[in-house]
């Protein structure tokens, strides 16, 4: 989230799209209702009328997988109706940047496309550069090649007629949302967009979010109270575990995975440290070398020296363009290229797409270590239905893991608040937390290398490791230490003392930190700030529900990101009633500003607000994504239509997919699979259901797998409410109980009727008679940027069956 949970109350218009907030983040509705109480408009755009819709002013049904068309239409509306916030757009975004001639767009393809590799040469998507190396800018927006005009032309095709034809949303409903939400393009109004995996789990997932960013930038809604693009993050610590990068492509703190082409630390730093030629751009990532060196010092301690490149050479290097994500790991497993692995606190045999493939892939492992609270479809895959254990070779170690109240430490909530939890009780039986599994395991492996030798033991033996895990100690390691006595603002810190802020991290090896974003969370002066429970606020902070003294928030306790964009050139808030920061008597008050510099009116010291972008401006034109600098509508990988109104390019030209025998796809407008399936969760269960199906009081409330469908479809198929049905896709078949409801209705898409059904994915065979993985139906097609699978849209068929085997 750019903002945080409480801040939602400051909104004048709330667009919930790609999220079912009331069901999946129920307590968010405390703050959504507070906004409603204060007069905010609440809109829910979603295929299904849900518990969220029930509390919104209105619900707009949309065919799953057509969000960019819907949002592109809104961009077109903003431009045509001149709803955009001119001072903001001209000064704070790259609207004025002039594009080079090499950029082009024709019939659904941007310039630089290579069909053989399904990739773009992104160097074509360049700006014109002046003699200083800075982008040419036309603040008058007269130049037809400036971003604003090129963008306006791009979205001029997103007419109400075209958008309505493909999304299945009536023109009246489109206008209703556009008019209400775009009314927040005024300085004293704020609109927020709340999304979740309903947007990310598409082959155009990243571009869904980009489209929302364009809207929010045009309306001046980023950085302000009640604004922002707010990813309602799902998993308990998905924010923190992303920050700490349990992800192949990154190191903790949002640094790229080292690649083979960067053989030395110097190569790495050079390639990953941007340079700006715009004088008033802060270009915060120019500090990256300090954070990376401090990370290496954290990992390798005294063994990391300037002479040995701080042990950079010991780190694994990936290949450029290689994909080591979940989906590729599973595909390699199926090909027999994986020997073994660790699956901790996730249940891929239920929650990954195309589960039949995933379950077959897991059979190829020699060994598997699972850390879990309960037996799961993953731990027990070897004895799944229709599987003969006598033929399953995989050796499985199932480690009982401790759960939240049985351990201590911190998590980071969706609003980036670092919250400490105490240990209430001892873990059940012999259960252990994950660290108490890893620490002794690594110590045993180190001991084996010490005594027996082996391949390249250096990285393991040089690790700055520990004998016994202590959460507090690791929280301090994350914050970081001085590696030698250092003076900061007249105060001397001894070697081993905590670094007070990331501005004190150094490239010379004199500091360590396992994650620069968290430096400042535990200091010598104030101790463990994640434990703070102080509700003190200034009156200005109280107005917008800012609690700077409760816990701590990354970065540097800044509660609203990009908050320098909430003020004008002189540091005066666009909306004084809900000011986030304000320049008063030579200093900032309110939230912690995005950097200490004075407002932009100070030509020498002032800085542009989007400090994480090299050129300081938010990117309406975003050349960093693999699939295009502007979001463009493409159909899902499996689509009920054979064409759409925007181009001949039916599906994303870049989406990734696999080609094993399990990776079958329906044809476009395939008569065998005419119905759109979308998947979701619900309040009472959690993701794949591994935890919540084992809580009897929750299973009681939602006991078995269902499929929600319209009365029209049910009638067409001869299905009655409560009947057993079989849902089939090109990849698998799933049994469910029919829930026939007015909350789903047929869509008219490109002139024909398209039915959409919805199913939760929380049920699995280890819970008797509740049904099995819905994801046996879903598709193994992925967003090209993130490799997130398209579990929110695929094509299926459905029929009534008399005998159920999975549900009883």
């Amino acid at each position: 989230m750019t903002n945080h949970w409480i801040d939602i109350k400051n909104s004048d218009a709330i667009l919930i799209m790609g999220s079912n907030a009331a069901e999946h983040h129920p307590v968010s509705f405390k703050w959504i209702m507070r906004a409603k109480d204060a007069g905010a408009a609440l809109m829910h755009v979603d295929p299904k009328f849900s518990r969220t819709s029930a509390r919104c002013d209105f619900h707009v049904p949309i065919r799953s997988g057509t969000d960019i068309a819907f949002l592109g239409g809104m961009i077109n509306y903003i431009i045509n109706s001149e709803s955009w916030f001119k001072d903001y757009v001209i000064n704070y975004t790259n609207a004025s940047f002039v594009l080079a001639e090499s950029y082009g767009f024709e019939d659904g393809l941007f310039s630089g496309y290579d069909a053989a590799t399904r990739t773009y040469d992104r160097s074509k998507w360049a700006f014109e550069w002046d003699s200083q190396g800075a982008p040419v800018r036309d603040f008058s927006l007269q130049n037809p090649r400036c971003v604003f005009n090129v963008m306006a032309k791009h979205y001029s095709r997103y007419t109400l007629e075209n958008v309505s034809a493909i999304t299945g949303v009536s023109p009246e409903n489109l206008m209703k949302v556009y008019e209400i939400f775009c009314a927040t393009g005024k300085p004293n109004k704020a609109g927020t967009i709340l999304y979740a995996i309903g947007w990310t789990q598409h082959t155009v997932g990243v571009q869904n979010i980009r489209a929302s960013a364009l809207i929010q930038l045009l309306l001046g809604n980023i950085g302000v109270a009640g604004g922002g693009i707010n990813a309602l993050r799902g998993e308990p610590n998905v924010q923190g575990s992303t920050d700490h990068a349990l992800l192949y492509h990154a190191l903790p703190g949002y640094h790229n995975l080292p690649l083979a082409q960067w053989q030395t630390l110097g190569d790495y730093q050079k390639a990953n440290t941007p340079v700006t030629h715009i004088a008033n751009s802060a270009n915060w990532w120019s500090n990256r070398p300090k954070y990376v060196t401090s990370l290496l010092k954290g990992w390798f301690g005294d063994a990391a020296t300037p002479e040995n490149d701080f042990c950079y050479g010991l780190l694994p290097k990936g290949e450029k363009g290689a994909d080591y994500s979940y989906m590729y790991a599973m595909d390699r497993m199926l090909e027999g290229k994986m020997r073994g692995g660790f699956i901790f606190g996730v249940n891929p045999m239920n929650s990954f797409p195309n589960t039949n493939k995933m379950r077959a892939a897991l059979d190829h492992l020699d060994w598997l270590v699972v850390g879990e609270l309960h037996n799961s479809e993953t731990s027990d895959n070897w004895r799944r239905p229709q599987s003969d254990p006598a033929k399953q070779k995989t050796e499985v170690f199932l480690l009982p893991s401790a759960h939240r109240v049985e351990k201590e430490g911190t998590i980071s909530n969706s609003g980036r608040w670092l919250q400490w939890f105490d240990k209430a009780i001892e873990p059940a039986g012999q259960a252990r937390n994950f660290a108490d599994m890893y620490v002794p395991l690594i110590n045993k492996i180190r001991e084996l290398y010490r005594t027996e030798g082996g391949t390249f033991p250096e990285p393991l033996l040089k690790l700055n490791w520990t004998e016994k895990y202590d959460a507090g100690e690791w929280a301090r390691r994350i914050n970081g230490f001085f590696c030698k006595d250092t003076e900061v603002n007249g105060k001397v810190y001894k070697r081993g003392q905590l670094v007070p802020s990331f501005v004190n991290l150094k490239e010379d090896g004199s500091t360590s930190s396992l994650n620069w974003l968290y430096t400042g969370s535990w200091t010598e002066e104030e101790g463990n700030k994640a434990k703070r429970r102080d509700t003190t606020q200034t009156p200005m902070q109280a107005k917008i529900g800012l609690y700077p003294n409760w816990s701590w928030c990354w970065p540097v306790n800044r509660r609203i990101l990009y908050n320098r964009a909430s003020v004008d050139m002189n540091g005066k808030p666009w909306n004084p009633e809900k000011a986030v920061i304000e320049w008063k008597e030579g200093k900032w008050v309110g939230d912690v500003p995005d950097g200490p510099w004075p407002p932009m009116a100070d030509k020498e010291k002032g800085r542009l607000p989007f400090i994480m972008h090299t050129d300081g401006s938010a990117q309406l034109f975003g050349p960093g994504r693999l699939d295009g600098p502007f979001p463009e509508h493409y159909e899902p990988a499996e689509t009920p239509v054979a064409k759409h109104p925007f181009s001949k390019q039916l599906t994303s030209p870049c989406y990734k997919f696999h080609t094993s025998k399990f990776d079958a796809f329906a044809q476009p407008a395939d008569p065998k699979f005419p119905i759109v399936l979308t998947t979701y969760s619900m309040t009472e269960h959690w993701c794949g259901g591994g935890e919540t199906r084992n809580v009897p009081n929750l299973l009681e409330a939602e006991p078995q797998l269902y499929v929600e469908m319209s009365h029209e479809l049910a009638k067409e198929k001869g299905i009655s409410n409560g009947d057993g049905v079989l849902i089939e896709s090109a990849r698998g078949a799933v049994e469910a109980i029919a829930m026939v409801t007015i909350r789903l209705r047929p869509f008219t898409v490109m002139g024909k009727t398209v039915h959409l059904i919805g199913m939760p994915f929380a049920y699995g065979w280890t819970t008797p008679n509740c049904g099995d993985s819905t994801n046996r139906l879903t598709v193994t097609a992925y967003d090209p940027n993130t490799t997130i699978p398209e579990t929110k849209a695929c094509c299926v068929n459905i029929r009534k069956i008399d005998t159920l085997t999975e549900i009883a």
């Binding site: 799902g234 923190g240 020997r339 073994g340 499985v396 009780i425 059940a428 045993k444 929280a475």
Partner: protein, 188 residues
């Protein structure tokens, strides 16, 4: 002694007799039927956090004699103000139901059953498997002769259920092993 209403009910619940019960105008038997003692009375309050979505509602765990007695929302936390959803409300039985794994389990190749093992044996076995795979499969150089020091045949999946500190431990350990197939729930 100040016989407050709360104290009075508690004494009835505990089966203790207050002097001169009749002075309260109660029929003892009737009152006793519903005067349960407050189950969290005297329990230690421990601050924890709901383990489901990333609203991260703060929760008070009531603990007595090392056992969980009850859980409820922390009214002081500015985000949830004491409230919880169905999942958060079910935390207590989440910890007290019979489904939890409590011992390391081992399933041998081609076996049809789990066997209980101790931690020492289990971790020794896993360490051995990891080292064998690492020694056999570690890639020191790629085809272009560049140093890559990576291990492709072992993977790690999950875990957004880990604390930040556990994540830091895991990331450091896995990169130390040379693992590149490292991924978690941000991608599903």
């Amino acid at each position: 002694m100040a016989c407050t209403r709360r104290g009075f009910l508690k004494m009835l619940g505990a089966g203790a007799l207050c002097l001169s019960l009749s002075q309260f105008g109660f029929d003892l038997k009737e009152a006793k039927a519903y005067a349960r003692s407050l189950k969290i009375e005297g329990a230690k309050e421990v601050s924890t956090i709901c383990p489901f979505c990333a609203v991260c509602c703060q929760v008070i765990a009531h603990v007595r004699d090392g056992k969980l007695v009850s859980t409820e929302g922390d009214p002081d936390f500015p985000v949830n103000e004491g409230s919880l959803c169905a999942k958060g409300a079910a935390l207590f039985t989440m910890y007290t139901n019979e489904h939890r794994l409590t011992r390391p389990l081992y399933r041998a190749p081609y076996s049809d059953t789990w066997v209980e093992k101790d931690w020492e044996w289990t971790l020794n076995q896993i360490a051995r498997r990891v080292k064998e795979a690492r020694d056999k499969d570690f890639i020191l150089q790629n085809e272009q002769g560049q140093t890559v020091n990576r291990l492709e045949s072992i993977f790690s999946m999950g875990t957004s259920h880990a604390s930040n500190e556990e994540c830091a431990v895991m990331h450091q350990a896995l990169r130390g092993l040379g693992v590149v197939h490292l991924d978690h729930q941000a991608r599903v």
